[in-house]
């Protein structure tokens, strides 16, 4: 049973005259930890939003968890969790209220949601913050609560769009710890977008996006080998002709 979790064929998106994503062919296997690496503006978020049915493709098709993104939006959204670059939590509601709201959006009965929320918040070290308004949380805690929100409905595939943007190094480390634990526990497929090379390093495979085009695809060692690079950073430079960290932040 090695059905592709994600299968994109010639997927593309234009915003007016701007070609955000050209024609992307991508197959991500079930259970894979997959990285989309590229600078800001490379088309990473556009790719995620197309796969999550938040945007309609300008061309091409994609299947996510076996469902067509154009015709089976509800089925696609049922199988995925998405953690956006910026928080989606309601700052005026408490952590618990936010997660209960999310649970209802995913049609989880309260008796199922309640223990799950409890477990997740404990796992993300937010157990004590259930009744605190989200606006009182630190950036790291907010991101953790956002991830808890993203996996509450136990999706098959989790999209993490620049999950560490704006976090301090300690919060970053603990976030990776948590994602590792999640993958080990559930065999979750994870699609991570990042513009930090070191975050792509632990991925099973990495796709390098630049100016809306896929310029390289392979395991991190393969990407380095192909151009005789010693680091992924060098490999990125060789594949794209420019440095990754031109701009920073979200």
């Amino acid at each position: 049973m090695t059905a592709a979790a994600i299968d994109a064929r010639g997927l593309g998106k234009d915003f007016g005259a701007v070609r955000a994503l050209d024609r992307l062919d991508l197959e991500i296997r079930d259970g894979e930890f997959f990285g989309l690496l590229g600078p800001n503006g490379a088309g990473k978020t556009t790719t995620v939003h197309l796969l999550a049915t938040l945007l309609a493709p300008s061309r091409g098709t994609a299947r996510v968890a076996g469902h067509d993104v154009g015709r089976e939006g509800l089925a696609v959204r049922r199988s995925i969790g998405l953690v956006f670059q910026d928080t989606t939590l309601d700052r005026d509601l408490t952590v618990g209220e936010n997660l209960r709201f999310a649970a209802r959006l995913w049609s989880l009965p309260d008796r199922v949601a309640r223990p799950r929320i409890d477990t997740l918040l404990r796992q993300f070290e937010l157990g004590e913050r259930w009744d605190d308004p989200v606006r009182t949380l630190s950036g790291g805690m907010r991101r953790a609560a956002d991830i808890a929100r993203g996996i509450l409905h136990e999706p098959r595939i989790l999209f993490l769009d620049e999950p560490t943007a704006g976090l301090d190094p300690r919060a970053r480390r603990s976030l990776w710890e948590q994602i590792r634990a999640l993958r080990a526990a559930s065999g979750l497929t994870v699609l991570l977008t990042t513009h930090y090379v070191e975050e792509a390093e632990p991925c099973d495979r990495v796709a390098v996006l630049d100016h809306g085009r896929l310029v390289a695809l392979g395991t991190p060692p393969e990407l380095k080998q192909a151009v005789g690079a010693t680091s992924l950073e060098e490999a990125f430079l060789a594949h794209t002709g420019h440095h990754l960290a031109e701009t920073d932040g979200g």
């Binding site: 915003f15 956006f84 649970a103």
Partner: protein
């Protein structure tokens, strides 16, 4: 349609509303400010006519105003949902865009209706208006249908306007004309043909008309009751709600729930 998702959206609206004390006080206090200041002044102009006290005449309009502000503002909060990112959480959930639009409009309806009931409980005794049981029931129908029509309109506006800064424009060019052309303060039939035509594409006009049927039946003979037939008012309000929701649903999902400019920045 996911009932649980709709319930979740509605419950969140109520929690947010009750937590904003200023909004609660404003919604309950606003009609009384109008009653005292506008009502006091117009009552003096009206004084020659002794069929009805102006403050009694404006009571249905004030309740319509409460529903309008309550429902429209609640539905317009979709703009803040989009700016704060919450809308994306909703859009990535496995529910239809139409369910999202309906949930928002229903939350707005129930909030607007609840506010109007609280205001009615104070206002009607103050102006010494004692509706019959049938009048009260029809009044409730009027509040709910007006709330739904205005809530749907609010979601359409929220999905179309770009940012919170456009709120003032909405207030000036939508809310105030809608209020003045609703029959809340003066009978629509006295307006010239152009304004009267505009009044009839105003959902609030039908809501206020229905409220007049409900509360001012006793003065119908003197020309202060509803001007259209009550069933027509109901049909018009339901149509506004249906058309509004049908238009709002696709607009909500546009650009993945973020403004295009914001999206371009973070692509």
């Amino acid at each position: 349609m996911s009932v649980r998702a709709v319930y979740g959206i509605v419950a969140r609206e109520f929690v947010r509303f009750l937590r904003q004390r200023g909004r609660v006080l404003a919604s309950i206090g606003r009609p009384f400010v109008w009653l005292v200041f506008a009502g006091g002044g117009f009552a003096a102009v009206f004084a020659g006519r002794n069929e009805i006290d102006y403050r009694v005449y404006m009571a249905p309009g004030l309740l319509g105003m409460v529903v309008m502000f309550g429902s429209l503002l609640a539905a317009l909060s979709t703009v803040t949902d989009r700016e704060a990112g919450v809308l994306r959480m909703v859009l990535v959930a496995p529910i239809r865009r139409s369910t999202v639009a309906f949930g928002k409009a229903l939350g707005a309806t129930l909030l607007g209706t609840a506010q109007a009931i609280v205001v009615a409980a104070i206002l009607l005794p103050v102006v010494q208006l004692r509706p019959t049981l049938a009048g009260m029931l029809l009044g409730l129908v009027a509040l709910v249908l007006s709330g739904l029509a205005l809530g749907a309109l609010g979601v359409v506006l929220a999905a179309s306007i770009r940012s919170i800064e456009n709120f003032a424009g909405v207030m000036n060019f939508v809310v105030f004309p809608m209020l003045f052309l609703s029959g809340a303060l003066y009978p629509v039939r006295h307006l010239g043909p152009v304004l009267r035509a505009v009044a009839y594409v105003n959902p609030l006009a039908y809501g206020v008309d229905l409220l007049k049927h409900a509360l001012l039946g006793r003065w119908a003979g003197a020309g202060y009751g509803g001007e259209l037939s009550a069933p027509l008012d109901c049909v018009a309000l339901v149509l506004f709600a249906i058309v509004g929701l049908a238009v709002a649903a696709p607009l909500l999902g546009r650009e993945g729930g973020v403004t295009r400019a914001a999206f371009r920045d973070r692509r």
